[in-house]
Symmetry: C5
Subunit: 354 residues, 5 copies
């Protein structure tokens, strides 16, 4: 996860507003799909060149341009110029190290989000930056790689399900936001399962692997938090409805996403508390083990050390040792040893060490 | 308790406002009871179908519709349509993973609460979502399962006790809120007793069970906190009396519930502090035990190891060892050993290890 | 102290505003004393029945009714009705589990405070709820038990000392508040002395008793904090002078109490920090002791174990062991042992273990 | 330092506004010095009785009355009456347990500060309360004992250096504040040096003295914080310039002191973090030492215990033990022991214990 | 790093506004360079005396005066007088212990920043104070030593790249701020790499060096935080655009720097969390090692102590010990020992100690 904190400086020194891709290239080819719809009809097409979608800007229908792969600076530049997007905003879209934020530029809103997903091995969380431009009757969304998250929205447009075809571009932007936030719940469920699994393991077998898993989880929560906390403010700002681009009727939907975001943050905080509780459990079970080991050592040692001493005494070679001559000396010593041993055991029982 | 963090994603992908039950089904049959009252008369009935209660909406009397079991989507849909409740609100009622909140939709207020109760075994806290719709002269309350919490309110309506029959729907909503908050005190008392019991046990016998109980309590406090903290804001918002549905005279009662909520939160925070103090007590008593064990081992070992060495010396088989030939050699050695032993004991006394 | 968190639910289910005493009965008989004074004259009497004080309400003189013992619901009801106090407020007075708070009901102000005092054994902090009703020219104060805290005020009224006889009911209410806050300093001094005493003990002898005392102090600070923090807001609200019952000239006195409250809170926080520092000292001195014990064990064992081995070697019964036959074999071995022993001691010195 | 938290209650029960000195007497005689100056001239004298300075109040020149020693209540009373200072303020001046604060009484401003200095042994921080009354064209400053902090200001007045003679009483008050805050930097430097010294020592030799020094530092930081934090608010309130006593041109100087105060607070917080980091270093180096000790014990014990056992076996007195009769038996056993010993050492090397 | 907290008091006692250099001299000679440009032309020169740049103040072109080395008080004084800068501001520029801050003096803005860089050995972070004066059409920047951070800006001016030549002095000030903030990312990347490296090492080999590195990193984060946190407020204040010196069009650029600052702060906080997590990992791996050592000791001791005792018993010299006479006694005892040994091993296996 360390990699998320690096490579920001690659373009240091360039004048601000210079477009340059900052991040790793995640797809080979840039895919541009366009949805153009109103409540009566809809059109869907995959574009070969970005210019094809320019006429849509001025139609009264809602146009959704979805761009997968943002590493081709030329395409990005064309979009920026045609849709009149400020070069600093274009720079932010291309820089995948952004923090979730919202900028209101009067003519359009710019929203940056983080989409999270487990990688293919399912052991690490991948992050993808999603940028959304919401204009008067168009939405442009930028993804780093293909994913299934927006598929249900596409289906709803195609099948005219729910309100999406009846509402404007702001509702579409809301739907995109909503699907990203819904996706967080999935990630949290998977983490919840890992926590649950780990907790059972901790009680049975507090291994160093468990400790490493705790720290991995802790790190991931840190990372999630960083991605999700700023989102709260982003949506809250949208919901306050100060932009003329957000219609009155959409505000209640945004409030709904806001509630979900708060729920996600709540769960993240609860998970953090649970994980730090697990560390306590781990440490005290380690120290309990230690205690148990020490007790065994102490019991064995305190029983046998005096006995060995006794045996040593009668192993001395002094010429004049009267006990050695006694008929029952050996058995008397064995008996004495048994007494000592039993006494010790009783003592340990009383101390609750046995 | 882990289960509270799961299964939120079941309906991911459905368009917003689609009604779908999210949670576990806790009762078999949906039970609908209606109270219709004013200061002069009251009527109570159990309904077979939800349609029966629709005429009440327009009477000047206060109508309280209580619905136990919210998993039958058809019933919910009918209520939503008849009472003009926004589909997003209906969706929230059906989703039992909500965070306590209050939405003011001008025509009605929507309140979500968490009711807490110990399960039958008395070892885990169950949570139930209670949703309340407060309209002009009606209150609709949704419960996940039957419970005795609202019974005293029913009695007060039947017997015309207190002010409830003299006041409007807003007072009824307050009474529902109040009974839920009062219920928290019961839960806190039970937890208080467990803490008290655990503290005594910790001093006497710091077992691993005690540690697990501490962590269970810690987890429960985490969970309580999550349920109760947002309530504060909910009631504070109601109390500010910005909605025309809340009458002037009811505000003082809401302030009273608000005070109670603060008291509950205060107690939860105090319990949290006490529990984390208990963890400290546990850890230090564990380390004290360890110390005691180590001391015993050290005392036994440091007394007998030198003695055993001495015995070993005189067990050597050298041909020429003058002491062995001495008449009183054996007794001299025994005496020397006694001296060493006594010296050690005095040393340990001085060091306060004995 | 656990008891402070219990028994709140006893009256659960009763309609709000029903008077019922919640708490333990601390005095047998209810004692009602009345002071009636202006700058010229004063009258002091102990009442047999509460009705006797009712005429005072309408005189222009300042009337202070002090009621010790609040468990007789009938008396309380009469007061409530005669002085026109809302039933919810009367309920709060009777419920001794309140949090300090201030309610402005236009006609009168209601203030709840916590009075703290050490119990007779001097080892636990007792809490007593003090409620104050400040009306146009009367003050009613409710105490759970008799105490000397208000005595200086009575003296000042009797002897016409200071400004008290010259000022109105608001100044009297201030004087009551001030004496309660002044009392906190006494409690804090006693705690300060216990902390000081404990600190010295910790360095000399970190016993488990010390640990328990630390935790007792910690618990008491938790409890003090809960009683004192809300007071800050109470007095700050009074001082803002929004109520017409508080005269301009009294505000500067309230600001003075406010400063004292802040000082109390400051000291509580400092004590908390000091106590948690003491826990650190305790834990590290325990671990230091452990270390010392381990060192002694290690030194004894590492010196004698090799020596014992050597003795063991020459205690073997092999027929052919040339050393055994040597004339100076025994002394050579003793010399070797001395060398090893001295070598070890030098090694430990170098390691700074001795 | 414990003493700072005590003795507040000495005057409990006296009516508010009664003058009584709370604190320890630090000087024998009260010293009163007066500076009277404007841009053209200045006069400096030491007064025998306080009455001598009363005429200065009404001259247009700036008058600075500095009073060292505040334990003579009569003098204080006279000042209070002549300069029209509220009795509660005079009480605050006499009570040396104040928290830094600022009161605006329209006619004059009252400022309480804490001056810190190391005591003569240089091992503890002494605190002294400085109270400043800023009137229309006079400043009265109260000190508990003599000190050199205000000397540079006196010099600047005498030599007409800087702007001080050109500005009014508010600038003088600023200069006093500034010199107190500047003094904090000196204290912080000394603490910084102690921290630096301690850190080096901790690495080399983590003794219990070091631990006690850490806790002493921690305690001092607690104490500094308590003295300095409230100052921030005090100066910020002054700087907001709401009082007509503060001229426009002085505000920029106050902002400068404010910046310094923030810097002091910053440093205090950084020191606190550093000290708590040092505690971690101490604890982990203690536990490292323990580890090292344990390793030595384990190595010695695990090498010699098996060898001793072997020697013990051949020390048994069975009649029929074939090995004992062998010609090279003894040497074979010695060789076996050497093998075991070498094996162990290799094992420990592999485990990185050696 | 300790040095950053020292030597502030050097000029204590001087009247405020007295210019005196506080800090270490980092360059020998003061270097003054001037850029004078508008969109059409630019001029760049290195000045011999500061007076040469004074005429630029009144030209309509943008003038950037960069001063490296601020220890020559005379030069500073001349600048202060010519450009009409308040003496307190000049004092702040000369005092290199400032906290980042922004002062709006209507005619000009004063900004203090901290530039961070790794020292030549790459093991410690050096700090340099950068002060910027932004006037109507000039910018004066003060650096403590030469560095390459502003080089890209110079290049952009020379080559007329980006918007810099088209915009005014406010844009130049923004560019300077931006390059300093961009520089933080470089520092953070280096720290990120050190953290990554350290984490790997911790798992493999938790040495005391690693612990010291953790504490060094912790200290550095403390230091970074202190330098960067206040910057947030500085830029936020600039961005709010209340000064007439900041043009409307520049605000969006400042918002961009603000976003970067937030990102830097975010990363610092994340690093802090990661480092404190690493301390946990270190401590628990140390305690795991201890456990392992203890286990080995216990296993060896508990196996051999009873065996040695047995050998000791048959090494006793009693005259009548029947087992000694038995033909197979020796082998029986050896067999018994083997049984005990195997039993122990099985026991430890069951306990999972082996």
């Amino acid at each position: 996860m360390q990699k998320h904190f690096k490579k920001r400086s690659e373009k240091g020194g360039l004048p601000p507003g210079t477009l340059a891709y900052v991040g790793e290239k995640k797809v080979e080819k840039v895919i541009i799909t366009v949805f153009d719809y109103d409540s009566e009809q809809y059109e869907e097409k995959e574009l070969k060149s970005i210019e094809e979608c320019f006429p849509c800007k001025d139609t009264p229908t809602v146009t959704w341009i979805n761009i997968v792969g943002i590493h081709q600076v030329e395409i990005m530049e064309k979009i920026g110029i045609h849709f009149g997007i400020h070069s600093l905003i274009m720079e932010d879209i291309l820089n995948t190290r952004q923090r979730p934020k919202m900028d209101d530029l009067d003519d359009y809103l710019f929203i940056v989000l983080k989409m999270l997903s487990y990688n293919e091995e399912g052991d690490e969380i991948d992050t993808e930056q999603i940028s959304i431009i919401l204009g008067q009757n168009f939405v442009i969304s930028f993804q780093e790689k293909e994913g299934a998250v927006f598929e249900p929205i596409r289906k709803r447009i195609r099948k005219n399900k729910g309100r999406i075809r009846k509402e404007g571009a702001d509702y579409l932007a809301y739907a995109l936001l909503d699907s990203v936030v819904d996706n967080y719940f999935k990630i949290l469920e998977q983490i919840g399962e890992r926590i649950e699994f780990l907790e059972e393991e901790l009680v049975e077998n507090p291994s160093t692997q468990a400790l490493q898993e705790i720290h991995r989880l802790k790190r991931e929560m840190l990372f999630l938090r960083k991605s999700i906390w700023p989102l709260r403010e982003v949506i809250s700002e949208l919901e306050r409805g100060e932009s003329s681009l957000i219609k009155e009727t959409t505000v209640i939907y945004l409030r709904d996403v806001y509630d979900h975001t708060i729920q996600v943050i709540d769960t993240v905080e609860t998970f953090r508390d649970m994980i730090s509780g697990m560390l306590d459990v781990y440490l005290s079970s380690i120290s309990n083990r230690m205690n148990e080991v020490m007790k065994v050592l102490t019991i064995i040692a305190t029983i046998f050390i005096p006995l060995t001493f006794l045996a040593g005494v009668y192993g001395m070679n002094f010429r004049y040792m009267p006990e050695l001559e006694w008929r029952w000396g050996y058995f008397a010593v064995l008996f004495l040893m048994a007494i000592i041993c039993i006494g010790m055991v009783i003592y340990f029982r009383k101390k609750k060490w046995l």
